[in-house]
């Protein structure tokens, strides 16, 4: 019993934090500051991260294999925790955080994401995914006085509900074929079902689940919700959706596809259906995301389309993992996650500072170099990292994915990735030009709150550190789970 409590400690801590915030919200007076609740949230998330690190290399498997935690899973959990921690810190200067429930919902979303990553069983996967999504729906709509926020929340609920229905329907086919909800048992039974001429049902289930997953990670053609919701949501929540929610979605995808189609008996399905379907998703995401981003003038919309393009790159990394690249391919995906997390969080933090409460279009960046040279420099670095220019973390991330794609002879996809990367230079550099070569009548300096400044500094250091000395992270990942 004590051992079990220890094994589940990262999740327990989050539960304790949720309870503390709930009590704190009741005890605090109506008008007093909610800073203390934010502090509790930050400390809880940090403590949870510490417990994840303390668990070290042991492999934990609880409740007849429905909860699994090994170093690989823990490394993704750490990413989710770091992402959420940065969002919590950013929220200190956000007006919305005057409501205590804001932090509670952030913690519950993180809890859902963590159990989602650890789940090896369909019921638990689905409940965790819903916990993550439901918290996110409410967070998106918390700006009640802004119509765009309510509209975004409404759209998110409708799209999210539909995608969950697809996912659940697909899962029911897999359950029907194999008679179990445990992913490990399922992969064995699936090969039997395949040889018993039930392959059409298998394909149907797979495509239904792919639709559901495609919605969650915002891959084309299931991307329609992302721009509207990124635009309407409060900037801190946009960061959360773009970083934590997306990484959790990819972890879910990797776990599901990896454990179901990894066995020998079903290799033909993997090569004949799963990989081609993923390739189509990836190519469409890269092309559509980056091309449509060219004509976006609203900054958040532009970043939404660019993040759709990034989803395309990440799917390539997933394909190389499924093709049997194993640890090398995994560390390239992880590297890309880290680079994307740092650069996106930094960009959104600067957007929050520059645009304040306004809805940011491209003009708010005009002449930023004159007003606050430091901010302009930081934003340039983040954009360069997103574009994948050398000496930033994004470059190494893209390079390792490209190498993996070439290693598996996916030349076409690698070519499209290079091409769309060049397209993406155009809109990233357009923003940089806007900052340095366009004048603006507004002359006052931007006021950077300490929390936003802290996040920007941290992500900037990370982007440079992992860009110049990639071996730190690569060896770190290697020594952790090898």
């Amino acid at each position: 019993m004590k051992q079990m409590a220890m094994d589940l400690s990262p999740e327990w801590i989050l539960l304790v934090g949720i309870a503390l915030i709930l009590i704190g919200e009741i005890l605090l007076r109506e008008n007093s500051s909610r800073f203390i609740l934010g502090l509790i949230a930050g400390l809880t998330v940090t403590a949870s991260g510490l417990f994840v690190i303390l668990q070290g290399k042991e492999v934990i498997s609880l409740f007849s294999d429905s909860y699994v935690s090994d170093p690989l899973i823990r490394s993704i959990k750490l990413l989710l925790i770091v992402g959420t921690l940065l969002v919590v810190i950013l929220s200190f200067s956000e007006k919305l955080a005057a409501k205590g429930e804001y932090y509670l919902l952030l913690l519950s979303a993180l809890l859902g994401a963590m159990t989602l990553v650890s789940a090896a069983e369909l019921v638990m996967l689905f409940v965790s995914l819903e916990l993550l999504s439901l918290s996110a729906y409410v967070l998106v709509g918390m700006h009640q006085e802004r119509l765009a926020s309510s509209e975004a929340a409404w759209k998110y609920v409708v799209y999210g509900g539909a995608s969950s229905a697809f996912l659940l329907y697909g899962m029911s086919f897999f359950y029907g074929l194999t008679g179990t909800t445990s992913l490990t048992e399922m992969s064995g039974n699936l090969a039997v079902a395949f040889t018993n001429n039930n392959e059409m049902l298998l394909y149907l289930g797979f495509f239904l689940i792919l639709v559901g997953i495609g919605f969650k990670i915002a891959a084309v053609p299931f991307h329609m919700w992302a721009p509207d919701i990124y635009q309407g949501a409060p900037t801190t929540i946009t960061t959360f959706l773009a970083v934590v929610s997306k990484i959790a979605g990819f972890a879910f995808m990797l776990r599901f596809l990896g454990s179901l189609f990894g066995t020998q008996g079903i290799q033909s399905v993997l090569h004949g259906v799963v990989i081609p379907a993923l390739l189509v998703l990836s190519i469409l995401s890269m092309i559509v995301g980056n091309v449509i981003a060219l004509k976006q003038f609203h900054l958040k919309r532009m970043l939404a389309y660019s993040s759709i393009g990034h989803a395309g790159y990440m799917i390539i990394a997933i394909i190389t993992i499924l093709l049997g690249g194993e640890s090398v391919a995994y560390s390239s995906l992880y590297y890309y996650f880290v680079a994307y997390l740092l650069a996106s969080t930094g960009t959104f933090a600067i957007l929050q500072v520059v645009a304040q409460d306004k809805s940011p279009d491209r003009r708010v960046l005009s002449g930023l170099h004159k007003r606050s040279p430091l901010l302009a420099f930081c934003l340039s670095v983040f954009l360069l990292s997103l574009a994948g220019i050398p000496f930033t973390a994004g470059f190494i991330g893209k390079l390792t994915i490209l190498v993996g794609a070439f290693g598996n002879s996916l030349f076409w996809v690698a070519g499209i990735m290079l091409l769309t990367t060049v397209i993406s230079y155009y809109y990233y550099f357009r923003l940089i030009r806007q900052m340095y070569w366009q004048e603006d009548e507004k002359a006052e300096k931007e006021r950077v709150s300490w929390s936003a400044g802290f996040v920007i500094a941290l992500t900037l250091i990370g982007t440079f550190l992992f860009g110049i000395m990639p071996q730190i992270l690569l060896q770190g990942i290697g020594s952790w789970f090898m």
Partner: protein, 165 residues
């Protein structure tokens, strides 16, 4: 035509009819009632499939709890009565075509690949065995579901509460 087939036809016609009424009803209260009707007919189908526990839960939770909750919600919020819906527009036709195509594809696949259920494992689950499974193997999802409900409750309050200035 035996009694089982007769009961199945009756329940499925009721279930589909309730869903169609739900879509076509103009007043929200009629929608809630037709939804309750659908839930109730589904419970009957579960009973025919010898899933007694599921049938009872369906009646208790869906036909009972959820429907009553919805009717309470409607009575407390007094929704605006919307006028009669307009005739079919282009995008509605498009979605009808897509949904019908999807339905046909799924039906085709399901009917071409019948899954033969294993006949050996017929047992009626006792409440005890359900409880054991729920609290032993599914303890984490069970606990997560309770947090999910808490989040839904808090979220509803956050979104519905007006700011008092």
């Amino acid at each position: 035509m035996n009694a089982e087939f007769f009961a199945f036809s009756l329940f499925s016609v009721f279930a589909i009819g309730g869903a169609v009424f739900f879509l076509n009803a103009i007043r929200v209260m009629h929608m809630a009632l037709s939804l309750a009707f659908t839930f109730f007919s589904l419970a009957g189908i579960y009973l025919l499939l010898q899933a007694e526990f599921l049938a009872v839960v369906q009646v208790l939770v869906y036909a009972g709890g959820i429907s009553i909750l919805m009717i309470f919600g409607i009575m407390l919020t007094k929704p605006e009565e919307s006028g009669a819906s307009k005739s079919f527009q282009l995008h509605q036709w498009l979605s009808l075509i897509v949904v019908t195509g999807f339905f046909l594809v799924i039906m085709l696949i399901i009917y071409q690949n019948p899954i033969f259920a294993p006949t050996v494992k017929v047992y009626s689950p006792s409440v005890q065995s359900i409880g054991t499974t729920l609290f032993k193997d599914y303890a984490i999802p069970f606990e997560l579901a309770s947090i999910l409900l808490l989040v839904a409750l808090i979220g509803a309050i956050v979104l519905a509460r007006k700011e008092q200035k």
